[in-house]
């Protein structure tokens, strides 16, 4: 809402020396979000004078029409001056705004007497745009109701300050000069007189015409509906400059007198009005449900298909407009309209909001109705509008018809000490009463509560947002200013700190960063194109996608079921930006559709007037996708850089597996590794990682076909783990190991096995066969070549043997060694090399 300070000053006797900026500060403190304060015509420096055009000579021979004008500015401003002008929208005897030499226009243009088109132009006849007053540059401004030599700045509102206020949904009343003026009056402690409630002096209704009949089908549509009629109106009548100026100041555009008057009254009082051309109406005008009325075209030339619960204004011919939102083309005021029917009503805000949202149509009217309009204002506002129509457009007043359901103001019972208890500071009951009265409430003692310190607060009809005691508490506290609230820390009993899951998530993040991996946060949006590129098969559970109804990008309508596509995208972006070695990780949620089809979820809507039952909460939870935390990394390029020390080491599949098992250790889980196949990994270089029989994730090299398709560096590796599942398996209490101080014995074993035999199986056989004396088994070399038979390879293991309490004898060592070999032979077909 753009609010003109001169308009506000019509309503509040604000001392002249108080600036718009000071007003803005007080309003901000009171809860109106003033976003800016602008001065109209800011930058205009010097005189701007009203002149009368006394002679016009059309100059010919130029590319465009040019006029050589004589303009009388009166004796104080140099009398008659010759001025060259490029506009043609004025005639002799019109009054115009003239900037004389020496005046500087907004934007820094300095007026000087200069020769142009063969004449010395001694000033400039100004347009709205040149003065920064509006966008109209079709011609210069023709001023009405003024005199030669008058200061045009005051006339044009130059120097007026405009406050731009972002109105929150609860403060519909602030979408009016009336509402803002009340806040200004309260903020400065000035008496406020609500002129909107003054009775407007209208002439007695003419007897030769009838008021237009009206009706409302259902009080759930409108509680108040009025029509006021003026006939014999002059459709050619101009809107007076002051109304045009004020409409401009609010950021709206003047249209025609009838429309401008409805907008003017709406801006001033907050009551939306609509003007119909009576000649185009057929029968009674009614507010009703759209029902089966198919479609019609609104004023913005958009065809609207109606839903049965839209609310419309209609006559016998059909829908005339979307009630409280926008009128229709068929009954629009036009250049011949002489019969004006003014609609002023109170529509139910939720109904207007629903229709406005459905039709994606937000209008000045709907913004006000959605937030709530004064319940009783309609007839007052339409009387004011009729008065203005009659004053500037002539015609005869015919009268009013109205439909109204009974109005009961809201009464709230308020404990006098509640504001103090909420604010944490003492507030006298008398102060509570005073502030609520400033808001417009009537505050009486609530005898029925049996306490002297209990108020019955009658809410004014323009504050539908005041419903609960807490709403009144806010009014009391905000008018006192939030800056007076004390600052006190609550005393809290001990908390339990982070959960295991939260600790593990942090540790994993820190340890990945510590080994040179960079944490990123990608958008969780993917599409079939991403899953296809990763060669993820249609029956894969990661294809059980959670779909967005309204994605940002139609190519990526799914919530991610894996972190890998996002990380591959990050790899590509970094590579494109010239980063050569990229190791990135992400910890975030992935989503897969719940097994149960989530249909009709809106049906599960527990009452909010009590705690939901366990069944209701479970029903809500059952709607939700499965959304565990995953951790994943994509590793590309060198893990250790090359340089003067020698060659570097690229990230290889083994790094991905090693880092994944490191993540497992951060959660106290020992992950076991086995060969697997899982897209998008290389079918021969994929490890499944598991613990306690649960697969936790996969690691290895990305399938070269995927990398090729996505244009990513070859040999890029990756892992992805289900961090939530890992957390579930976390070791919370690690039993201490027995540390032996007896000497160690070292034995190496080289075993030849078939290529297909997994090294981990051989190691396990050695460990199992060797028994308790085997402290550790480490694979230190792998050989395949002429020294071993084709199809076989040699695996060299380093064993450390140790007893708990003694030095091992040579016999014991030999026995362990032989047992280990025997087990490897039996289980893996291994032969000692």
């Amino acid at each position: 809402m753009r609010v003109s300070m001169t308009w506000v000053r019509d309503w509040v006797e604000l001392p002249a020396d108080i600036s718009g900026r000071e007003v803005a500060e007080r309003l901000i403190a009171a809860g109106l979000e003033v976003e800016s304060v602008e001065t109209v015509g800011a930058g205009l420096d010097g005189d701007l004078t009203v002149g009368r055009v006394v002679d016009i000579e059309e100059l010919t021979g130029f590319k465009k029409p040019i006029r050589w004008c004589q303009v009388d500015l009166g004796p104080d401003h140099g009398g008659v001056r010759g001025i060259v002008c490029g506009a043609s929208n004025f005639i002799v005897d019109d009054h115009v705004a003239v900037a004389i030499p020496g005046t500087q226009l907004p934007g820094g243009f300095l007026i000087a007497a200069r020769e142009t088109y063969g004449h010395i132009s001694d000033g400039m006849i100004c347009s709205e745009r040149e003065l920064g007053l509006g966008d109209d540059h079709a011609g210069i401004m023709v001023l009405s109701n003024t005199e030669t030599g008058v200061d045009a700045k005051a006339l044009l509102g130059i120097g007026d300050e405009i406050l731009d206020i972002a109105v929150t949904p609860d403060r519909g009343y602030a979408l009016s000069i009336r509402g803002v003026a009340r806040e200004v009056a309260t903020a400065f402690g000035i008496d406020f007189h609500d002129r909107a409630m003054d009775l407007v002096d209208l002439p007695a209704p003419a007897v030769d015409a009838m008021p237009w009949p009206c009706d409302v089908d259902d009080a759930r549509i409108a509680e108040l509906f009025t029509l006021r009629r003026v006939v014999g109106f002059n459709p050619a009548a101009h809107t007076p400059a002051w109304i045009r100026r004020r409409i401009n100041s609010a950021g709206m555009r003047p249209v025609s007198l009838a429309v401008d008057v409805t907008n003017y009254v709406m801006l001033e009082t907050g009551q939306p009005l609509h003007a119909f051309d009576g000649a185009k109406l057929r029968g009674a005008v009614r507010a009703s449900w759209a029902g089966s009325h198919g479609s019609f075209t609104t004023l913005d030339h958009v065809k609207r298909t109606l839903q049965p619960d839209d609310i419309v204004i209609r006559d016998d011919s059909g829908p005339l407009g979307l009630a409280g939102i926008m009128g229709g083309l068929t009954s629009e005021i036009g250049a011949e309209s002489t019969d004006i029917v003014l609609e002023a009503a109170w529509f139910v805000s939720s109904t207007v909001a629903k229709s406005a949202r459905r039709h994606r149509l937000s209008s000045e009217a709907s913004r006000r109705f959605e937030r709530g309009v004064d319940r009783v204002l309609a007839p007052y506002a339409s009387a004011r509008a009729a008065q203005l129509l009659l004053a500037y457009g002539g015609g005869s007043y015919v009268g009013l018809t109205a439909w109204e359901s009974p109005y009961e103001p809201t009464v709230i019972s308020l404990a006098g000490q509640l504001p103090a208890r909420t604010g944490g500071l003492p507030i006298e009951s008398s102060v509570v009463k005073e502030r609520l009265e400033a808001v417009g409430c009537e505050v009486g003692d609530n005898a029925t509560e049996g306490s002297a310190d209990n108020f019955a607060v009658v809410v004014p009809p323009w504050r539908p947002d005041l419903i609960d005691p807490a709403d009144l508490v806010e009014e009391v506290l905000r008018l006192g200013g939030y800056d007076v609230l004390p600052s006190v820390l609550p005393v809290i009993s001990a908390g339990r700190g982070l959960t295991a899951a939260q600790r593990i998530r942090r540790r994993v993040g820190i340890s990945l960063a510590g080994i040179g991996v960079t944490d990123v946060l990608t958008y969780p949006f993917i599409g079939d194109v991403d899953l296809d590129a990763c060669l993820i098969a249609s029956e894969d559970s990661r294809r059980r996608s959670v779909v967005l109804a309204n994605p940002i990008n139609d190519e990526q309508p799914f919530l991610r079921s894996t972190l890998i596509p996002g990380l591959l995208g990050v790899l590509r972006r970094n590579t494109a930006r010239g980063v050569e070695h990229v190791a990135v990780s992400e910890i975030g949620r992935v989503f897969t559709a719940a097994q149960q089809i989530s249909d009709g979820g809106v049906g599960i809507r527990p009452s909010v007037s009590r705690r939901p039952s366990q069944e209701e909460v479970s029903a809500l939870e059952s709607l939700l996708p499965i959304q565990p935390y995953h951790v994943a990394a994509v590793l590309s390029g060198e893990r250790m850089r090359s340089g003067w020390w020698g060659s570097g080491q690229d990230y290889i599949w083994a790094d991905a597996i090693e880092i994944a098992t490191m993540v497992g250790r951060e959660a106290g889980v020992s992950l076991s590794v086995e060969a697997s196949q899982y897209a998008p990994w290389h079918p021969g270089r994929t490890a499944a990682l598991s613990a306690d029989g649960h697969t936790i994730g996969y690691a290895g090299e990305i399938d070269p076909r995927v990398l090729g398709r996505l244009g990513l560096p070859p040999r890029t590796c990756a892992f992805e783990l289900d961090l939530s599942r890992l957390t579930d398996l976390a070791t919370m209490v690690q039993p201490a190991p027995q540390i032996s101080s007896a000497p160690v014995a070292k034995e190496d074993l080289a075993l030849v096995v078939d290529h297909e035999v997994a090294a981990s199986d051989v190691a396990a056989a050695i460990r199992d066969g060797g028994g308790v004396l085997v402290e550790s088994v480490r694979l230190f070399d792998v050989y395949a070549g002429p020294q071993v038979p084709a199809g076989k390879r040699s695996l060299a293991f380093a064993l450390r043997l140790r007893a708990e309490d003694r030095t091992l004898t040579a016999e014991e060592i030999t026995r362990v060694r032989n047992d280990a070999i025997a087990a490897a032979e039996q289980r893996c077909g291994a032969v000692l090399r």
């Binding site: 820390l489 609550p490 980063v579 975030g588 909460v617 709607l623």
Partner: protein, 369 residues
């Protein structure tokens, strides 16, 4: 070598004469002093102190002396040999030190040749920021609560006093999961965790909830459809707005420095009543730029205050929806944008830097605590 003198031949042994012994010692000392390294000293030791050295050979002649002379000569020889031995030890120590120093000198490298052999990692600054802000509350006794990102509409809206037709639902553009009728949305705020916390925990409740939220904004320098908030809620007996203010002042101090104040401005949120916007005093200029146009402040735009988030007293309707008696309990809640906090605390000027995953952005923050 002479044979042991059993006949007591009264002939003296020339090599045991004091002058001869002294000459041997002198020769040894000269050689020792002249040894230039441990290797040379080893040779000197052999020549002047070894089994075949003149002094050792002379020493064997003592047996040939008459018993009366043995004592005196023996003493002389002992002194001589000790003198040589001491000199050897001293020189050895000297040369060892010299040798060590030379080796260390020879092994000197150009330590500025180091390159980053291991890649540099880092945690995302938004993650670190959420942890940093959470930590302030955990230290006070709060716990960290969580909730799903794909959330039931009921938790995201209805339970927070945002009814089906509430204008607030038009203020936020919501991602709907499946369809607009599924009852599931991507949470538009961390506030649904307020309700979850009240349902899942016993009173009093003091929790903070950092997390990801979603709105259907296109990505540009100041908007992103996926961003992060941190929410706090306290519900207890006797909680007042003064407690809210005190808590926010404490957070501001911990985040921006001692003495940094917060300012509350009345505002509107359906789930709090009264509601307020939180501004934090500009930690760069501390408001000095407001009165001094000659030194404008980029951080606060010379406003002196930075808009930080929203807060208020938990609307009694929310307490009722959670089954909490608003006559007995009251609470406060607040929420801030994490991106926004990062932007003004660290001077990030473009939202896109936080979402694109350019490793150079994150690596600059390293393992910042």
């Amino acid at each position: 070598m002479s044979a042991p003198n059993r006949s007591y031949d009264p002939v003296g042994v020339a090599s045991l004469e004091p002058q001869a012994v002294q000459e041997c010692v002198d020769a040894a000392l000269v050689a020792i002093a002249g040894a230039i390294d441990l290797e040379a000293l080893k040779q000197v030791r052999l020549e002047h102190s070894g089994d075949k050295s003149p002094l050792a050979l002379a020493n064997r002649e003592i047996g040939a002396l008459p018993p009366a002379a043995k004592a005196e000569v023996g003493k002389r020889m002992g002194l001589a040999r000790a003198q040589v031995k001491d000199a050897l030890l001293a020189r050895e120590a000297e040369l060892t030190v010299e040798n060590d120093l030379r080796i260390l000198r020879d092994e000197t490298v150009d330590v500025t040749m180091t390159a980053e052999r291991m890649g540099v990692g880092g945690r995302h600054p938004l993650t670190t920021m959420m942890e940093r802000m959470s930590e302030v509350f955990v230290q006070m006794g709060y716990e960290i609560a969580e909730g799903p990102e794909a959330e039931a509409e009921w938790f995201n809206f209805d339970a927070l006093n945002i009814g089906p037709d509430h204008p607030a639902r038009t203020m936020q553009d919501t991602f709907f999961v499946d369809s607009v009728d599924s009852g599931v949305v991507l949470r538009t705020q961390t506030s649904p965790i307020q309700m979850r916390a009240l349902l899942e925990r016993s009173l009093p409740v003091y929790v903070v909830a950092p997390g990801r939220v979603y709105r259907t904004d296109e990505l540009d320098a100041t908007h992103t459809p996926v961003f992060h908030q941190i929410e706090g809620i306290a519900v207890d007996e006797g909680i007042t707005m003064a407690h809210l203010k005190g808590t926010l002042d404490h957070l501001a101090t911990m985040m921006f420095g001692t003495g940094i104040k917060t300012r509350l401005r009345p505002s509107y949120f359906p789930f709090t009543e009264p509601s307020a916007e939180i501004d934090v005093e500009c930690f760069v200029c501390r408001g000095s730029s407001v009165e001094d146009p000659s030194s404008p402040c980029r951080t606060c735009g010379s406003e002196g205050w930075i808009e930080w988030g929203g807060c208020g007293m938990v609307n009694p309707r929310v307490l009722i929806a959670a089954g909490v008696d608003p006559e007995r309990y009251s609470g406060f809640a607040f929420g801030m944008g994490v991106e926004r906090t990062l932007m003004f605390r660290h001077g990030v000027t473009d939202m896109r830097d936080m979402v694109e995953g350019d490793v150079r952005f994150t690596q600059a923050f390293g393992l910042e605590v």
